[in-house]
Symmetry: C2
Subunit: 128 residues, 2 copies
DNA sequence: ATAATTGTATTGTGCACTTAATACAGTCAT
DNA sequence: ATGACTGTATTAAGTGCACAATACAATTAT
């Protein structure tokens, strides 16, 4: 469980995405109880206030609900989770194609790029 | 020329990426003179200080250089631009695959997603 | 020469994010 | 009942981002 943060974006939003991912990919199961705010904050090495803000934000998506004094739980609606996972995958794909277009590459370039990327699993390569 | 900004990230960084894109995709040609800081700021509807910060940041990448009192210019090194475009495309692809993995999908799912995304060019679909 | 245009620098203000340190009310185990 | 947990709220401090309003030196156009 690695909690690393991009310095260029609010931590609490990255926490939201991080946790959302764990729900969508099944690391957190439907109905499962989440660790407490304080525990999650300690694990992620952030302030409890920041984690609280992230969790509050997460509830607006309906993936998580709170039982006032006993804790937070993942939604039991497995269908909803599956639906959101598919939508997330489609959105990622659309953004990928849009980014390629911004670089001046046609969507048809995607296939070759995917093949190339899977061959060389090396360098992470930041800009320069 | 649309300059729209994501509220969740620093504007000056988005400006950097925006301009970098225009260089990599050929909208800005090698050797071409850039509009002045003030003009660019007006076009993007941001404060000149913010645009100045973005441009200063851009020079660290070597895609742009300054002639003290006459203006800023795109590098004439077309090979460098081409090299960076290829690298950018590969990085985008790697991130796409990594994001799919985070969703619990195998890289082999990419092909089907690309096909699906190109069929339905509709909804932008944000979370919920 | 004068005026306009270049990049650059400075000072101040407002706002959001993050951390820290507490505090409170309700639930649960003992 | 007591103590340890839950989520939640508040106040204070520090930081970075963005804007506003100027200002200056050097080049370019007139």
């Amino acid at each position: 469980m690695v909690w690393s943060f991009d310095a260029d974006r609010p931590i609490y939003l990255q926490l939201v995405e991080h946790i959302q991912q764990k729900i969508l990919n099944g690391e957190f199961q439907p109905g499962e109880k989440l660790p407490s705010v304080r525990d999650l904050a300690a694990t992620a090495a952030v302030n409890p206030n920041t984690m609280q803000k992230a969790l509050a934000e997460l509830e607006r998506g309906g993936l998580v609900f709170t039982q006032r004094t006993s804790g937070r739980f993942i939604t039991q609606d497995a269908a909803k989770i599956a639906r959101l996972r598919e939508r997330a995958a489609l959105n990622l794909t659309r953004r990928f194609l849009a980014d390629l277009t911004s670089l001046g590459l046609p969507p048809s370039a995607a296939a070759a790029l995917l093949a190339a990327a899977q061959k060389s699993e090396n360098r992470s390569d930041v800009s320069d």
